[in-house]
Amino acid sequence: MKVVEVNNLTFSYEPSFEPLIKNLTFSVEKGSFLSIIGPNGSGKTTIFRLLTGMIKPAKNSVLIWGKDVNDYSRKELVRYVSALPSAEIIHNEVLRVQDYLELARYPYLSVLQSLSKIDYSIIENAKKITQIQRLANKYLWELSQGELARVRIARVLAQDSKIIIMDEPTAHLDIDHKLWFLGALRRLKSSGKTVVTIIHDINLAYRFSDEIMILNEGRIEFLGFKEDIDLRLLEKVFNVKVRKVHNDLLFEETF
């Protein structure tokens, strides 16, 4: 089943500008793990915003679970798509980890309805899986980057959406937390979720995801299983030399 469908998607912030996204067409199957890679300015973050409805795409150009992303209310959409924007919540002095996780249940509540026992047990479970019980009473600004990464995965778990779309979730993490984070995404995938992530690190994308999309100047250069990537394409798009050593990619500068 196609859970994300993109048809002839073109987008620019101002009509007079050259489009950042040019005529994209692709789809994501249920239960797959897709990494989107591409050099700076290739339109990755714009795609993230379009897929998660943060900016409005043209009518019928982005379908989530078979329905135009513009036709969902915000609450409804979030029950299908959990979005992780590139980390901006670090300086928050208002909320504790527990408050943040309670907000993850917001899409399931009506105005003034308080959280049920089930909501709380879902939150407790998310904390247990990510091993953050001891952080529950800390304010978000007190967390280290590694702790924040765990809290964000806990948020995704508590939100319990069918698709998870992320914008560079591992950008600021140390390598151990990076590996933990991507491992957590693998486990989410095996529990039946669909994972789409924008990622800077080509090696990590190559190692953890099933499918890879290479984006360049707003166009798809490649989309398919990672085994089928032509290394010469990577060399062209990223302007490097690439060698395959065992199952990893090795990059060398071209000059």
Binding site: I55, L77, E88, N92, E93, V94, L95, L103, P107, Q159
Partner: protein
């Protein structure tokens, strides 16, 4: 000790102090029971001061969240002076009913906040400096026109001062009293409305994108807050003129000592705002032979507040 864990202690403290001060205010610090006629006048003034303080502080607090700017407040952003322009335009038509005056006041207030907001958005992101600058310039502009209009109408200069700087000692005839009370009740209700949106406001402190990804209709909430704050500010301004600084100072202080979660921030700001304005009005009535406009007294209070803000910012930037 984390003071924010004991928010209810603070809330009770504010309430106690507010209650005590209200009694002092009504007896005007003489500890004698006033005659019924004087009590009626004082009670009206008390209500006007209380609701004005409550409303403006709540408006400031919710605007600060929605605009993610600790300097936002109805006065700084020009909402108050926009409302004042509406009032002044209709005062030349010799219209004096508060509730009627608040309609044009609301239209101008809403126009102000929406236009400032859209002018300060550059490529989809809100530029904080533009927001405050825009408000500042509109403030000067509107105040200029208001001054001109009131001079044209040959109001005594004294009265212009009170309108531009805010004053709660309004004189009402018994015919006007019901309209005044309706205005106050409406303003108070509008100031309580953000309480049904506390979850959304909490989420917006995480930033627009994070709030959107939690399922919050950020755009809708922003319009809701713009609407309620401009309406409540307009109702207050048409009674008291433009009272400044309450909405700026109180929510920032509450955020630091009690915490920024809106279930507490909103009511605590309201009560704190009421208390501050009652104190300011007591000073206004008692320290000089002429009663002083409130923004003047509050402006003097604001000086240590600004030093405190600057001191905190310096500490913060040295921490990171």
């Amino acid at each position: 000790m984390d003071m924010r864990k004991n928010w209810y202690v603070w809330l009770i403290l504010i309430l106690l102090f507010l209650g005590l001060f209200s009694v002092l205010y009504l007896s005007n610090f003489t500890f004698k029971f006033p005659t019924s006629e004087i009590l009626r006048i004082r009670l009206v003034r008390f209500l006007v001061t209380f609701v004005a303080g409550y409303t403006l502080a709540v408006a400031g607090g919710s605007l600060q969240t929605i605009l993610q700017n600790p300097l936002a407040d109805p006065y700084i952003l020009g909402i108050s002076s926009g409302a004042l322009l509406g009032v002044a335009l209709f005062k030349i038509l010799n219209l004096h009913l508060y509730i009627a005056l608040s309609v044009p006041a609301f239209l101008f207030a809403a126009l102000t906040i929406f236009s400032i907001y859209y002018l300060a958005r550059v490529k989809g992101t809100l530029v904080k400096e533009l927001l405050i600058l825009g408000g500042l310039f509109l403030n000067f502009f509107f105040n200029g026109i208001v001054f001109y209009l009131l001079v044209l109408k040959r109001e005594v200069l004294e009265e212009i001062l009170y309108v531009l700087w805010g004053f709660t000692g309004v004189i009402v005839t018994s015919g006007e009293l019901p309209f005044l009370l309706i205005s106050l009740v409406l303003a108070f209700i509008l100031a309580c409305l953000p309480l049904i949106r506390i979850r959304e406001l909490d989420a917006i402190t995480l930033g627009d994108q994070e709030a959107l990804s939690l399922g919050v209709d950020v755009h809708g909430i922003r319009n809701f807050v713009f609407f309620t704050t401009s309406a409540s500010t307009a109702l207050i301004v048409s009674i008291t003129g433009a009272v400044g600084f309450v909405g700026l100072m109180i929510p920032n202080i509450i955020k630091k000592i009690i915490g920024g979660k809106h279930a507490v921030l909103i009511p605590a700001s309201g009560l704190g705002g009421a208390l501050l304005l009652l104190i300011a009005d007591s000073i206004s009535r008692n320290i000089s032979p002429v009663e002083l406009p409130l923004s003047i007294i509050l402006g003097i209070f604001a000086v240590p507040f600004f030093f405190w803000i600057i001191w905190r910012q310096r500490n913060e930037s040295s921490r990171s």
